[in-house]
Subunit: 211 residues, 2 copies
Amino acid sequence: MAVDVVIFTLVKDRLSWLLVEVKDGPFIGKWAFPGGLVRGPESVDEAAARELSERTGVNAGYLEQLYTFGKPERDPGTRAVSVSYMALVPLAQIRLNPGPKYSAAKWQKVNRLPVLAYDHTQVARLALQRLRAKVQYTNIVCHLLPREFTLGEMQRVYEIILRRSLDRRNFRKKILALGLLTPLRRQKIGPHRPATLYAFRQRRPMVIEVL
Amino acid sequence: MAVDVVIFTLVKDRLSWLLVEVKDGPFIGKWAFPGGLVRGPESVDEAAARELSERTGVNAGYLEQLYTFGKPERDPGTRAVSVSYMALVPLAQIRLNPGPKYSAAKWQKVNRLPVLAYDHTQVARLALQRLRAKVQYTNIVCHLLPREFTLGEMQRVYEIILRRSLDRRNFRKKILALGLLTPLRRQKIGPHRPATLYAFRQRRPMVIEVL
DNA sequence: CCAAAAGTGTTGGTCTTACACCCATGC
DNA sequence: GCATGGGTGTAAGACCAACACTTTTGG
């Protein structure tokens, strides 16, 4: 009984996930998503949260169960079952730590995926699919954005995840009409015209037709 | 490591699920969804398919994983994990069989739910939610309809599941425009004006905006 | 002839999309 | 002054929701 966690973040305007290098077993040297066995006293959800926290130092963030694979090729022969999760965390909060189980950990852009250990190629496909679907009808992008952000930054997150460009005026109209954001007094200073900063009113998961 | 299967069907124009009466253990006498332990050589999906087949005699039908609960109250103390599934089968094909594990099996309308054993009240909510969402953007209703059916019958299935009435003309326009159905030469005879019979071109799962 | 379901088009409103110009800032 | 992103409104088309009457059959 194991868990695997696909941890997404944005690294320099690229959607990326965390890969770890397997240290031993039949898949030694291959890359995989972090994971591990569920321990005695903990629930499956808790094991996933622990894995997320051990690798990244993040305790909050967004964590969602994806799917349970009943026939992974991990340890072929035994019917090991693994429950996959996806997590969203803002890069700023992260302190990477491969831990004792893995020889390395790195952020990898979601395109150009190497061959992964176990059944993780399947897990990868599913996670991406779920993320792309879910940004369109929930407010989960709030977990990829900092507390305060401009509408331009928010739009960029959508464009990166959905791989298509959005019309700026239409995007603003829709997002603001949803009433999920609250404009802040402050503005973003920088090399260009200052932009109004916004924050999510609520960061708890909500189902709302976004795009 | 266990599976639980919520089996939906339509009984006399009512959406119903199959409940079984628990024969022993702490939940003796309570109703639950059928389920059981995953056996040595089989995968989790196979265990669910076996449970469906043993209770109903149906081998094909639609089967979809719902969610994995890591902390059921089944056998409190142990961390038993159970993977829940939902199945759709047309009533006509079914031969109910409680099997040795259960003292009874019955179809129960989805409203008026009794207190269920284990964590099955949660499973029930999730299954209904998933079914209601999924009829709207996939072709899964094909698994609740007979091979040949009229548009009126199809519309009724939607109305029953979604608990709202639909406009007949708009429904026809939309469904026919999707091109999922093929009209048959034959017509349904009966006490009223004969209706054209239709069949699904494809019965494999497809994602299509239906309503 | 009555009850019940089948079959069929149009219209108004809403929503979605496409599109262009000026503004504020740092360098 | 120039490059870069911020900010704003409108018009055409697509889509959706609402709506009534006639037909066919069995009993």
